[in-house]
């Protein structure tokens, strides 16, 4: 039972942060970036398992590396980022699948929050809070940069710097979310809560808050259902978020 409580509290905070940052990703049309990024985490995670260091650190390291590369490619070359990102991410997934030790592969792909130790839980919770606070700090600047980069620059917002900070936060939250839903399903935890909140929100505050709340609710609900049905938690969390999404369709504004 204490395992369940620990899993629920970590899941709640990670879900909250995923939903909150996901709301920015959806508005910035980066829905699929979260999905693709999570695949990059796999080789890092595998290295952690192979050389027995914390897999979270491996995943985060791989994500930061990928993030810096994307940012540099975007700013320095005229190559189509989408294509490069697509190649890079599927390549990472392939390498990750090859080098991840087989017993851990399923957990890496679909997550398992029930195996969270106390230290890990505290670290994940604290880092989620950091992601939320940092995200809150740059939220408005990022949105203005999203609706018009020129307008943001005209009021002296350093848009490139903001983009970079945001990508680092996304890497952080993806690395954390992998513990909850795994590399294959992490995209869902950042996209679906935001998509649900967008269905009926008319202003930013409602949208960001509901997105965070739906992220939290999906994680908690999914983990509880998984506990009592002995299904794996990752897919349950995604099912819960999908359920929320379809319910919000009834309140969709025109």
């Amino acid at each position: 039972m204490s395992n369940l409580l620990s899993a629920i509290s970590v899941g709640a905070l990670v879900g909250l942060a995923s939903g909150y940052l996901g709301s920015l990703m959806v508005l910035r049309r980066m829905s699929l970036v979260g999905d693709a990024l999570s695949h990059v985490a796999l080789p890092g995670l595998a290295l952690g398992l192979m050389f027995s260091f914390n897999p979270f650190l491996g995943a985060f390291g791989a994500l930061i590396l990928a993030t810096v590369l994307i940012w540099v490619i975007e700013n320095q070359t005229k190559l189509p980022t989408e294509t490069l990102v697509g190649i890079f991410f599927t390549l990472s997934l392939a390498i990750g699948l090859l080098i991840t030790p087989e017993p851990e592969l399923l957990e890496a792909l679909f997550g398992d929050i029930s195996k969270t130790g106390a230290t890990e839980a505290i670290l994940a919770g604290a880092l989620s809070l950091v992601a939320i606070l940092a995200g809150h700090h740059i939220y408005h600047k990022l949105i203005l940069g999203t609706i018009s980069e020129d307008l943001a620059k005209s009021v002296r917002i350093p848009t490139k710097k903001m983009d970079f900070i945001f990508l680092v936060l996304v890497s952080l939250i993806v690395a954390l979310g992998i513990k909850v839903v795994g590399t294959l399903l992490m995209g869902a935890l950042v996209i679906i809560p935001a998509a649900a909140a967008k269905n009926f929100s008319k202003n930013l505050r409602a949208y960001a808050n509901f997105s965070a709340l739906f992220g939290l609710a999906s994680a908690v609900l999914g983990i509880i259902i998984a506990y009592f049905t002995s299904f794996p938690p990752g897919p349950m969390v995604v099912l819960a978020s999908a359920l929320i999404f379809f319910s919000t369709l009834f309140f969709k504004r025109n």
Partner: protein, 237 residues
């Protein structure tokens, strides 16, 4: 004109992207309270010139603003769809949280009414649901909220209300007079240029004309500007 009145001097500005030259040899001046129009066919680099003036892109030549100049900018459009969860109030909150300041800016662009009316019919509306004309007004209010010396207005190719109440151009003209605001306007409508601009720049690969609209917009420069036979060049008041 003395130096205190001078807001902007552009000397021999040229812009190219890689091998592609957008334009060259653009020189002009802008003084306080003046309205300068930029005209030219699509793709002649009007918006590019704006972006250079704002310092967003590299260019050759020299663009000098008066020190401590405050610039308001109205882009053609925002990257939003009708479902974008951003209310008009949210949009103003990027600049200020003060309802009094927002209300004053709204009044300045001709959006009036009591607190409740503004709240319900303007501030709480999502910005993607506004009509073209309303949207333009909000954009101008946003740009003038911190009392700029000059307003850069990139006219959209569509969506400007015509007729009925005060047009966007009347509004800009009123702000120009009342607030002694200089305006640089990218325009697609020569009627507007004749009526409201003190000076005009014709842009197509190079600066084809520069000066008072009535003296420089002649058949020769217009046919050079738009190619072939200019269908429109004279405007009677």
């Amino acid at each position: 004109m003395n130096n205190e009145q001078r807001l902007l001097t552009a000397e021999n500005v040229a812009i190219s992207f890689g091998d592609l030259e957008v334009f060259q040899g653009v020189s002009f001046e802008l003084n306080r309270g003046e309205a300068l129009a930029i005209v030219g066919p699509n793709g002649s680099g009007k918006t590019v010139l704006f972006r250079a003036m704002l310092g967003f892109i590299p260019f050759q030549g020299k663009i000098t603003w008066a020190s401590n100049v405050r610039i308001g900018y109205v882009p053609q459009k925002l990257m939003i769809d009708s479902q974008f969860p951003l209310s008009v109030r949210d949009f103003f909150n990027f600049k200020t949280d003060s309802t009094a300041v927002i209300t004053e800016a709204l009044n300045d662009v001709g959006i009036t009414g009591d607190h409740q009316h503004l709240e319900r019919h303007v501030l709480n509306k999502s910005i993607g649901s506004l009509s073209g004309g309303q949207f333009q007004r909000i954009m101008i209010a946003w740009a003038i909220i911190d009392h700029p010396d000059v307003l850069l207005f990139d006219e959209p190719t569509s969506g400007i209300d015509i007729g009925g109440e005060e047009t966007i151009y009347n509004l800009l003209h009123r702000l120009q007079t009342k607030n002694h605001l200089a305006i640089i306007l990218i325009s697609h409508d020569l009627n507007i240029v004749y009526k409201y601009a003190n000076k005009v720049i014709c842009l197509n690969k190079e600066m084809i004309c520069y000066g008072e609209p009535h003296s420089v917009l002649d058949p020769t420069s217009l046919s050079k500007l738009y190619g072939g036979e200019a269908k429109f060049y004279h405007h009677e008041h």
